[in-house]
C-alpha cells in the first residue's frame, strides 16, 4: 500500500515520505494503537463484570429471564431473539463497511457512497434497538420486593406446560391489595429539611403481603440458584414468612440502585457496558456520516485514495468486535 501515505502524512518526515514502518501508513497505525487501548478498556469492564459475577455466582440474575422482549410482540417470552437480531444488524453493517473499503480501493466513488449509506443505516438501527432494550429494562415487567438484606423476592405460581410444572412469574399488580396508604410523599415545602424525596413505590410491602395471603397459589422465588441452575422457589409457609420478616420495599424495573431481577450490580454493569458500547456506536455513526459526506463531495477522489474510509472502517469493525464479546458475556454465558 505504498500509495496511501503520500497525501496524509507531514511531508519530509519519516512518516510522510513513503517510508512506512510495518508497511502501514501513519493514520492506520494510530488507529490500531487506539483500538488496542480501547480493547483494553472494554476488557477491563467485562473482566470487572466477571469479577462481580464470580463474587455472587449463586445469586446472579439469569439473562434469559431478564431480556425476553421483542418489539411489537407483547407478553411473549422470547429470550435472545432480539439481541440476536441486533448482533446480525451490526455484523451486516460491518460487511457493508468492508465492501465500502473494497470499493474505495478500486476508486469506485458511487459504490463507496452506497455502502457507507447502508453502514450508517445499520448503525442507526442498532443504536435505536439498544435504546429500546434500555427502556424495556428500566421499565421492568413483573415487579418484586427488595429485602432488608438487599435481595430480591419475586412472585409466581406453578403452571402446567406440556405436563411439566413450570414456575411462571406473576405481576405484583395482579394480586397486590392496594390498601389506603398513610404515608404521603415528602415535599421540600413541608418539613425542616428542604429536600424532596423521590416518588413513593406504587405498593407498600404490606399491600403485597395481603395480596399474597389472599392468593394461596402464589409463591415467592428467591435469587438463590439451585443445583439445576434455576432460581429457588420457596414453599407457601416460607414465602409468607420471608415476605413478612424481610420485605422492605416494592420495586419495579431497574435503575442504578436496585432492580427487580436481582443483584443491583447486574443492572449497573448492563447500563455501563452497553452504554459505553452504544456511545461508541453512536460516535461511529457520526464519524461515518462525516466521511460519507466527504466521499460525496469528492475529497478522496481528489486525494486519489480512499484510505480515510479504511480508517473509519477499522473503528467500525472494532465496535462490532466488542459487541461480539458483550453479546457472549452478557446474554449467553
Amino acid at each position: 500500500m505504498e500509495s496511501t501515505a503520500i497525501s496524509t502524512g507531514p511531508e519530509g518526515t519519516t512518516w510522510g515520505g513513503g517510508n512506512q514502518p510495518l508497511k502501514s501508513s501513519y493514520g492506520k497505525m494510530m488507529m490500531w494503537f487506539f483500538i488496542v487501548s480501547d480493547a483494553l478498556t472494554f476488557s477491563g469492564f467485562l473482566a470487572a463484570y466477571g469479577f462481580s459475577r464470580f463474587k455472587f455466582i449463586d445469586y446472579w440474575p439469569i439473562a434469559d429471564e431478564v431480556f425476553t422482549h421483542v418489539p411489537f410482540l407483547h407478553g411473549q417470552e422470547l429470550p435472545m431473539i432480539y439481541v440476536a437480531f441486533m448482533t446480525f444488524v451490526l455484523i451486516m453493517s460491518s460487511v457493508t463497511m468492508v465492501l465500502a473499503v473494497d470499493a474505495g480501493h478500486q476508486m469506485k466513488k458511487n459504490k463507496v457512497i452506497w455502502y457507507m449509506f447502508f453502514t450508517i443505516i445499520g448503525g442507526a438501527i442498532f443504536v435505536g434497538s439498544q435504546a429500546w432494550e434500555w427502556a424495556t429494562f428500566i421499565q421492568g415487567d413483573y415487579g418484586a420486593v427488595q429485602t432488608k438484606g438487599g435481595n430480591i423476592l419475586q412472585f409466581g405460581t406453578y403452571k402446567s406446560i406440556e405436563g411439566e410444572a413450570v414456575f411462571k412469574r406473576i405481576p405484583v399488580e395482579e394480586f397486590a391489595v392496594a390498601a389506603s396508604s398513610e404515608r404521603t410523599q415528602h415535599e421540600s415545602k413541608s418539613g425542616v429539611w428542604f429536600t424532596a424525596e423521590g416518588s413513593l413505590p406504587a405498593y407498600t410491602v404490606n399491600d403485597v403481603y395481603l395480596g399474597l395471603v389472599a392468593n394461596p397459589n402464589i409463591l415467592v422465588c428467591t435469587q438463590t440458584i439451585n443445583a439445576k441452575g434455576e432460581k429457588t422457589v420457596l414453599s407457601r409457609d416460607e414465602s409468607l414468612l420471608q415476605l413478612k420478616m424481610n420485605g422492605r420495599r416494592y420495586v419495579k424495573g431497574a435503575n442504578l440502585e436496585v432492580n427487580e431481577y436481582g443483584a443491583p450490580l447486574f443492572a449497573d454493569f448492563f447500563f455501563f457496558i452497553t452504554g459505553f458500547h452504544g456511545f461508541h456506536v453512536l460516535s461511529g455513526v457520526v464519524i461515518n456520516i462525516i466521511i460519507f459526506f466527504n466521499v460525496i463531495i469528492g475529497t478522496y477522489e481528489r486525494r486519489k485514495n480512499y484510505e480515510m474510509v479504511e480508517k473509519v472502517g477499522l473503528y467500525w469493525h472494532f465496535v462490532d468486535l466488542v459487541w461480539v464479546f458483550v453479546f457472549t458475556f452478557f446474554y449467553l454465558v
Binding site: 510495518l22 508497511k23 466477571g50 464470580f54 460491518s94 460487511v95 424481610n246 469493525h317 468486535l321
Partner: protein
C-alpha cells in the same frame, strides 16, 4: 491501485475465494452460522452441556497440576466453554478479514494481537481469581446476606 493484494484463502487454504468481495460474503456466512448456533444453543440449553465435561482429579500435587491444565473443562460448564470458543472464532474472522489483519505485516499483527491477548488474559485471571476467593468467603458464612 494494483498493489492492494488481498490474501483470499481462509481455513489455512481449505477455501480459496476468487475475489475480495466474494471472501467478504463468505466470512459473513460463516459469522452468521456461528451466531445462529449460539442463539439456538442459548435458547434450548441442551441438558448434556449444562455441566462441566470433566470431574476434578483427586490426589496430590499431580492431580492439582492436572486440574489447572484442564481447568477450562473441569470448572466451566461445557455450554459456556462452547460460547467462549465460538466468540473467539468470530473475533478472529472479524479482525483477520474485516479489519484486514490477514494482509498486514507479521510484526504489525503481532504487536496488536499479542499485546492485547496477553494483557486481557492477565486481567481476566486476576479478577476472576479474586472474585472466586471473595465468593468463598461469603459462602463459608463469614458474611450474612439476609437479615
Amino acid at each position: 491501485m494494483a498493489d492492494h493484494a488481498h490474501k483470499l484463502e481462509i481455513f489455512r487454504g481449505l477455501i480459496k475465494f476468487k475475489s475480495n468481495t466474494q471472501k467478504i460474503w463468505g466470512v459473513l456466512l460463516l459469522l452468521s452460522i456461528i451466531t445462529a448456533v449460539e442463539v439456538v444453543l442459548g435458547i434450548y440449553k441442551p441438558e448434556i452441556l449444562m455441566g462441566p465435561s470433566m470431574t476434578p482429579f483427586e490426589g496430590g500435587v499431580g492431580a492439582t497440576l492436572l486440574n489447572i491444565t484442564f481447568a477450562a473443562f473441569i470448572y466451566t460448564k461445557s455450554l459456556n466453554l462452547i460460547f467462549i470458543v465460538l466468540t473467539i472464532i468470530k473475533a478472529y474472522y472479524i479482525t483477520w478479514d474485516f479489519m484486514h489483519m490477514r494482509d498486514e505485516t507479521k510484526s504489525l499483527r503481532r504487536f496488536v494481537v499479542w499485546t492485547a491477548v496477553f494483557l486481557i488474559c492477565y486481567l481476566i485471571f486476576i479478577l476472576l481469581q479474586e472474585g472466586g476467593y471473595i465468593e468463598s468467603v461469603y459462602s463459608q458464612g463469614h458474611v450474612k446476606r439476609d437479615f
